[in-house]
Structures are given as structure tokens and as C-alpha cells.
Point group: C4
């Protein structure tokens, strides 16, 4: 089971490269095996070209290395906190993808300007508050996770599977590591469209709540009508 998890996490990391979301060693994906309490995560600063599943680091929920000879991603503490606080998720991805990062740097949540957004993200994709000096100089990586969790106090993380960390960049998640990677790709596509929308029409408002509901529930929930599910 841990071997299979490491392969899933490797594939999710490589999906980020294939989709053009990462440059050099930017970005990281992880996945969790909740029955064993183990998280598999990309090693820190290793090139994607050379990475294989043996390089994926296996840690317990306290961040202790259980398997692997490399150091885990320096963002590990954020991943672990998201797994603890969002029990429904199975994978987490962090990138500095271009347009999602631009919205994060601009300190703006991404409004649901259209149905592409509504198909995958329920409501706006929120931006966190900026971290305080104390949070930055303290346990910074953990505090980044805490800022995300605070922002999601009244949001279902699987309905809105991404966040923009202010002045930093996006985190996305999903039921598996690969689903988290796909959500990171969809987030970037939505962020690009939203950028061009707001620069075409600065007064643009979100689509109506009924249209948001229609599209979201078309792809999600018991009454979904999209795809080949029965």
C-alpha cells in the first residue's frame, strides 16, 4: 500500500510538469493513506526529470520520516495540517503557477465569473489574510496552513478545492494526489480566464447563484448528470 501511494504521488508530481505548472523544482504534491496515517510527499529541491517513486518520502502525521533517504518538501507542515483539518481530502498540491500566483500576489480572491469556474469550484476561490510578522517569524510553514484553515472556516474544502495564499501562491487538494493535481491545473485555467475577464470588464460581477448551483451540481453530488457514471 505505501508503495502504491508513492507511485500515485510521483504521478501527481509529474502531472504538474506535463501541464506546465512548474518551473525547475517549484511545486510539490502529496497523498495520504488515512488507514495507516502515512503521507507520501515529494522530496525537497529534487529535479522532476530524475525523480522516481523511491525518492518520494513517507512520513507519519507528526512529520517523522518513515521511509526514504531524502528530506521531504519544505512545505510538509502545511500539507500535514490540511490533512488533519480537512478529513475529506486525500491529496494536496502546491504550485507557483503563473496566473493563480498573480491573483494571490494581487491579494484578490478569484470571483466565479463563469461556468468553467462553477463546474469545479463552488463560489470564489478565496485568498487568505496576509500572515503577521509573528506568524512569519514563528512556525511559518505551519502558520501558512493555519491561515488556510481559518479562511475555510465556513467553506467545504471538497466543494472549493483550492486557495490562494496571499503574496505567495495556490494550494489545491482533492480526494487523491492526482485529483489535487487536476484541481491545480483547473485552477490555473480558471485564473487565466478570470484575469482576461476582469481586464476586459473591470465592473464584471460573478454569475448568478442559480447558474453557479446548476453547474456545480451538474458535475458533483447525487444528481450529477455529467460523465458516464450510472
Amino acid at each position: 500500500m505505501p508503495i502504491e501511494l508513492k507511485e500515485q504521488v510521483l504521478e501527481a508530481n509529474l502531472e504538474l510538469v506535463r501541464s506546465g505548472l512548474v518551473l525547475f523544482t517549484f511545486g510539490n504534491a502529496s497523498g495520504i493513506d488515512r488507514s495507516r496515517g502515512l503521507v507520501a510527499i515529494k522530496p525537497s529541491g529534487v529535479s522532476y526529470e530524475q525523480m522516481n517513486s523511491e525518492d518520494i518520502v513517507l512520513v507519519d502525521m507528526d512529520g517523522n520520516i518513515v521511509e526514504g533517504s531524502l528530506k521531504p518538501s519544505s512545505d510538509l507542515a502545511t500539507h500535514l495540517l490540511l490533512y488533519k483539518e480537512f478529513p475529506s481530502i486525500g491529496g494536496v498540491v502546491h504550485t507557483h503557477s503563473e496566473f493563480a500566483t498573480a491573483w494571490a500576489q494581487a491579494g484578490r480572491s478569484i470571483p466565479p465569473y463563469g461556468t468553467t469556474h462553477a463546474d469545479y469550484f463552488y463560489g470564489e476561490i478565496p485568498v487568505t489574510d496576509e500572515l503577521t510578522q509573528e506568524e512569519i517569524e514563528g512556525d511559518y510553514v505551519l502558520n501558512t496552513g493555519k491561515a488556510i484553515v481559518r479562511r475555510f472556516r465556513n467553506i467545504d474544502p471538497l466543494a472549493t478545492p483550492a486557495v490562494l495564499v496571499a503574496g505567495h501562491g495556490p494550494f489545491a487538494w482533492g480526494t487523491t494526489a492526482m485529483s489535487a493535481a487536476h484541481n491545480a491545473v483547473l485552477l490555473e485555467a480558471v485564473a487565466r480566464m478570470a484575469y482576461h475577464t476582469t481586464t476586459l470588464n473591470a465592473a464584471c460581477t460573478p454569475i448568478s447563484q442559480p447558474l453557479q448551483d446548476r453547474h456545480y451540481y451538474r458535475k458533483h453530488g447525487a444528481k450529477a448528470t455529467y460523465g458516464q457514471g450510472s
Copy 2:
């Protein structure tokens, strides 16, 4: 004949991928055999890499499946209405291509800023009205088609073979499925240029009517002078 139609529709769907207009399973193309009253359309939520002509679903004009084991695209009802209301068209394509979608989200029709536009689209590429709550919560996919048809009350659909559905994205059409796909590609190119034009010069106005006429009729109609036609 239905087999050939399915291959044409497969090719039109793959053209969308080759041209970079679709991400994951976004988008769908269909074609009609008017002599038999049959429409061939992409299945819902199937990956383009794995799709072959056997996966293309054949339906009658009421949407009943005539051939195929997969569910048709969830946008089927929009396609069928367009075939019924626009008797001159033979193919329909729907995408969420980046710049056409940005104009649709911004709620702006694309003005004919230049001859690239005028060569392929006569007049502006119109944006529909937003659907009402009643239309969204009713037969939404059919009502999307109705909003398009209302917008084209005084427009020849083959002269202006594309529309922007407000808050959603573009539909394009043509005499065949492949012609519809080409028009979707041309629409995206025109939408990109128009975006950069209006952000360079917010006061930019359309080219003159004589210039629009000159370019449109250079490529279309009895007096066309472009290409190798006699």
C-alpha cells in the same frame, strides 16, 4: 453513412485538442446527417486520448440514442436545437477556449476590429443575454440553445458562425463538424487579437462597413476571389 459521420465527428473533436482549445474532457463537437435525421456527438466526460469513432454517440432529433453504448455530451440539447433552428448548418462545436470565454464572461460581444475577424465572421460575434433563474432551473441546456437562437433572430448563422453564451463560453458551427471546429479555432484567434486591441486602445471602434463587406465577400459568396475555387 452513419459510420462516416462518426469518423468526421471524431476528427472534429480531435482538431479541438490539436488546436489547444480544450483541457481534459472540456468541449464537444457534433455533426448531422440531415437526410437520415441523425446527429453524431462526443460522449460525455470521456478523455480525448482514448476516444475512437465507436465511442461517438448517434442520436435522433429527439435525443434518443440510436447507436453507441456511452452517454452523449451533456450539452446535447443545445446542439439539437441549433440543428433544428439553423437548417443551413451541418456541425456544432462547444468549447471553453480561453479568450472567447473571457469575452463571454465579461458579457461583451466581440467587435469586428479588423479584417481577420471580417474574413470569417460578418459583424460582431454576439453575446447572448444572461439566462433567467427560471431558465436555469428549468430545461437549462435547451434554454441555452433558445438564448442563442433568440440572439440570432436577425443574423444569418452561416455568415456569423459563432456566439458567446454570457457567463459561459462560445459555440461555433459550420457546414460540417470539421468546419465548425475550424470556426471555433478562428473565433479563439479573433478573440485573442480583439482582447489585445481593446486593451491597447479602449476607444477602438469597428472597421468600416465597406471594409467588413469587402473582406467577408472576398472569401464567401458567388464573387469570392480567395483560394483555388474556379
Copy 3:
């Protein structure tokens, strides 16, 4: 000699494709053999994938076909006028490349915002006046050439080897067909940078005349210091 010219013109047309400047059958390149008074030009509306040197059409200075079974580019009359009026040029290229066309549609000349521009284009890249209704409804393609020539009354065409036709797109030229194609590629790169420059700083002014002179004459003229020339 005509065979070699046709191969050069084929290569220049393919360079436009390789550089991403053309979509479908957009664009055309030609070259002239002044000793024989013959121009080789892309055929109209033929796909680049299938084109070979036999398809290139050879015409005399009045546009009569001397060799070739296909119709020449519908822009032929513009090319011929430029060869007649600009005796120093040996090749002409027309594209609808994205950013150069956006400037043409916006009706704005491209200011020399930096040394990339100054290395290849002396002074601004000018936009023509819009054609009048009479010019459009008359010999439109020839009149497009006349509008270009009028705009260059006091400009050396080899020092500024490109123009933006208002509401239409760019023409570029050079000493050979391939040089014209390279200038079309450089124009698009300069147009992209200038777009991002003016949207970053709407008040941006051209670089100083001494800097323009320094860069232009570094690559051109008797005192050029760039490259491996003696």
C-alpha cells in the same frame, strides 16, 4: 534561377509557420528576381503542410502568371506595388500575427520603446491611414499598397522594414524573401514587448534618439560592429 527563387519563397513561407506567425492558410511570402522582372509568391488558400516549390506561382510585374498551375495569393497586387515603389527590397511578407495585428487594429504605430526595436527598425513602425470607402470598393488590394507607399514617403523602407495596415495587419519586407520573413518574426516580438510595455506604463516614451541611432547603426551600415562580418 526561377527555380531557386521558388525554393527561397517556399522556405520563407515555411519559416512563418515554424515561427508560429500563421494559422491555417493565413499569410504569404514572396520574392523577386529583379534581373528577370519575375516575382514568386505563395498560392492562394493552399495549406502549408502540402505546399512544395512547384506550387509557388511565378508572375511578371503586371501580375500575369508565367509559371504555375495555381492562383497566386489574393494579396499579389500589394506585393507587386511594394516591389515597384521600393527598389531596394527583394522579399515581402504579409501575416496576421497576433500582436502586430492588435496594434494595427488599435490604429497605433509601435513606438521604439527599447533597443530590441532599435536593433531592427529605425524609428516607429508606422500605421497607415484607414482606406476610404472609394479605395476599398475600388482596386482594394492595390490601394492597400498605395496606402503603405504614402506612409513611407519620408522613410527608408530598408531602415524600417515593416508597416501596420490600419484595421488589417502587418506587412514586412527585406532584401530577400527569408529576410522579409525574419523581419516579420522580429516585428511580432517587438509588438509583444511594446504591448506589455505600454500596458505597464501608459506614459512610456520612446528611447532617446542617440540610443536609437547607436543600436540601429551597431547592426546596420558601414560601421556595424555586430556579427562576424569583417
Copy 4:
């Protein structure tokens, strides 16, 4: 040793091509062997496709050719001055990469809008003053270097390994030629994100000093926690 240096410099030049930073023969990379006082640099105006390590020119600190049959890059004097004035650097790269050049042409330093910037560049990426007419008409290439050095009077060049030359484009550097090339790639990525950030939010301010410090020192200095270093 000089042979190895030439291969390093060749690889750094090719990295610029692989990363999409250069068009035609734009751009140049060099590296220094400080123990021998020798600099290896790209030849002027030679195509990257044909370049091999034998074409890399070896010069002494006065610019005299020590090895090689080609002329060195026309920007050599800038490179040499940077090596003399910044004793900690081992490689220099000059490009006209699209977004970094747009900021240089707009005359704007790139503010540290986010942690992607802060991970690699400490503080803003500064733009130089414009050169005076006297500087341009005098020893222009050397004076370009002097303008850079003046701008870095109070900046550690290895902490902020890039500059924007006003109206021209970026120079980047690093401990080796390849490190300089990587910094040029990172600069372009940061410049793209910053462009989209400032056009999304014209009032956007830099991230806080504590956050800049946290990210910069996470990857640099004795307490670095990123990567696989012990």
C-alpha cells in the same frame, strides 16, 4: 580548465534557448575562470543551432582574444566590467526576454510582490538610470556596465542577481554561467507574474520585509532549509 569553461558557457547559452528566452541570435552567456583571469563568452551573431564549444571565445580581462577564431559578443565590455566590479560572481547572462524587457522598457523596477520573487531575488529587481547622450555616444557597452554598477552601489549582487537596463533589457548573473542562466529564467518567470499582478491590482504593494527575509534566507545562507543540503 579553459576547455571545461567553454563547455559550461556553451551549455548556459543553450539553456537560454531551451527555456524560450532568446530569438534568433539574441542573448549571450559568459563564465569566468578567476584563477587564470580568463572569460569565455558566446561569439557575436552566431546561430545557437550551429554553435559548439570551439566557437566559444576566450578573452583576458582586457578583452584580448586568447583563444577562438570568432569575434566575441558585442556586449563583452559589459560582462568584463561586471566581473571586475562584482568579485563574487562567476557567470553573466544578457537576454531580451519578453517580460523582463517590458519592465526595462517601461522604466520600472520589479517590486517583490510575492515569495517566488523573494525566493531568488532579495528586494526589488532594480532598473538602471537611462544613459546620457554622452554615455551612449562614448564607450556605450562599457557605460552600460557602469550604469549597472552604480545602481548596485548598496546592493549585494549575489543576493539580487539581476538588473534591468532602462530601455534595453535584463542582465542576470550567478556563481557560474549556468547559475546565471537559471537566474535569467527565474527573472523572466518573476517578471511575468509581476506584470499580471500589477495589471490586476495597480495599487499592489510588495510583501512585508519579514516575509521577504523568511523566503530569501530559507533558500540562501547558513540556515537554509530548502533542498537536500546537509
